[in-house]
């Protein structure tokens, strides 16, 4: 046999050997992959079957919660008024006031209840005090500080002409005893009688 033929045979055998070795290795890997995918598909099937009822249940929960939200918002609208209702919701859940306005079919700026203390806030305070939530444990952070919030609101709402707390007519004013004698005031009925006594 000629040398060239021997070399050709050797080359062909090498090619066939390489094909056999690598293809057998690939087949073994593919079998491992198949076995692995079988195990994975089992778990994926479990995921699919377990998550199947989620949509229906979550939609039902959302429906119930939406009904509850509508109910409470309707009550809040009725008791506090539409403007204050949106403002109250905004003060409790920042950003939610706009959606309340949208549900009311209105647009515009939500009233800032933090700055404007309104009848609606009073209603909310009553709800807080008289509801089971208000009668809960006293520990933890206060939900609302009626004194400070009221003082802040009163400072905003105080009429310029109305008396301050410790001035005549104010809530904390205590009139002095009347002056008797020559330095007594001009008399009851005069314009500056009370004021002059206090001074």
């Amino acid at each position: 046999m000629e040398a060239a033929a021997v070399v050709t045979l050797i080359a062909v055998v090498l090619v066939i050997l390489a094909l056999v070795v690598y293809l057998v290795a690939v087949i073994l890997e593919l079998r491992k992959i198949t076995a692995g995918l079988d195990a994975v598909i089992e778990s994926v099937g479990a995921i699919v079957s377990k998550s199947k009822p989620v949509n229906g249940v979550v939609e039902s929960i959302n429906k119930d919660l939406s009904a509850g939200t509508d109910l409470l918002e309707g009550l809040l609208d009725k008791k506090a008024g539409q403007d204050d209702a949106a403002g109250l919701v905004e003060s409790l859940f920042p950003g939610a006031g706009a959606s309340v306005l949208a549900r009311q079919g209105r647009t515009g700026e939500v009233k800032n209840i933090d700055e404007v203390y309104t009848r609606g806030a009073v209603q909310l305070a009553r709800l807080g005090r008289e509801s089971p939530l208000g009668a809960g444990a006293m520990s933890g952070a206060a939900l609302r500080d009626p004194t400070s919030s009221s003082a802040a609101a009163r400072s905003l709402y105080s009429h310029p002409g109305s008396p301050v707390a410790d001035q005549p007519g104010g809530p904390r004013h205590q009139p002095r005893s009347p002056t008797i004698g020559t330095e007594a005031s001009k008399g009851v009925g005069s314009d500056d009688s009370d004021e002059s006594v206090d001074e």
């Binding site: 090619v15 690939v26 994975v40 989620v54 929960i61």
Partner: protein
Amino acid sequence: MTLWWIGNVVLLLVIVPVVVILLRGVLDAAKKTSRAVDALRPVAEAASKDLDAVELLHTTQEQVSQTVAVVADYGGSLDTVLEDA
């Protein structure tokens, strides 16, 4: 004869290496896929286990329905108790 030798050289120096390189590429890809599947198996099992709590959604659903019903009753009482704006 010369052409035969040239053919042999081409076979040994070009075709055999190319065949080996291509087959090695296929094998590497298969091995990578196998590793990925092996890594995927515990993840899928864990995800399946995480969804065991989905059954509790039915309880949540019942609780929400009952709570909303209570809130509705409470709201009706509040509507009566509180004065309108």
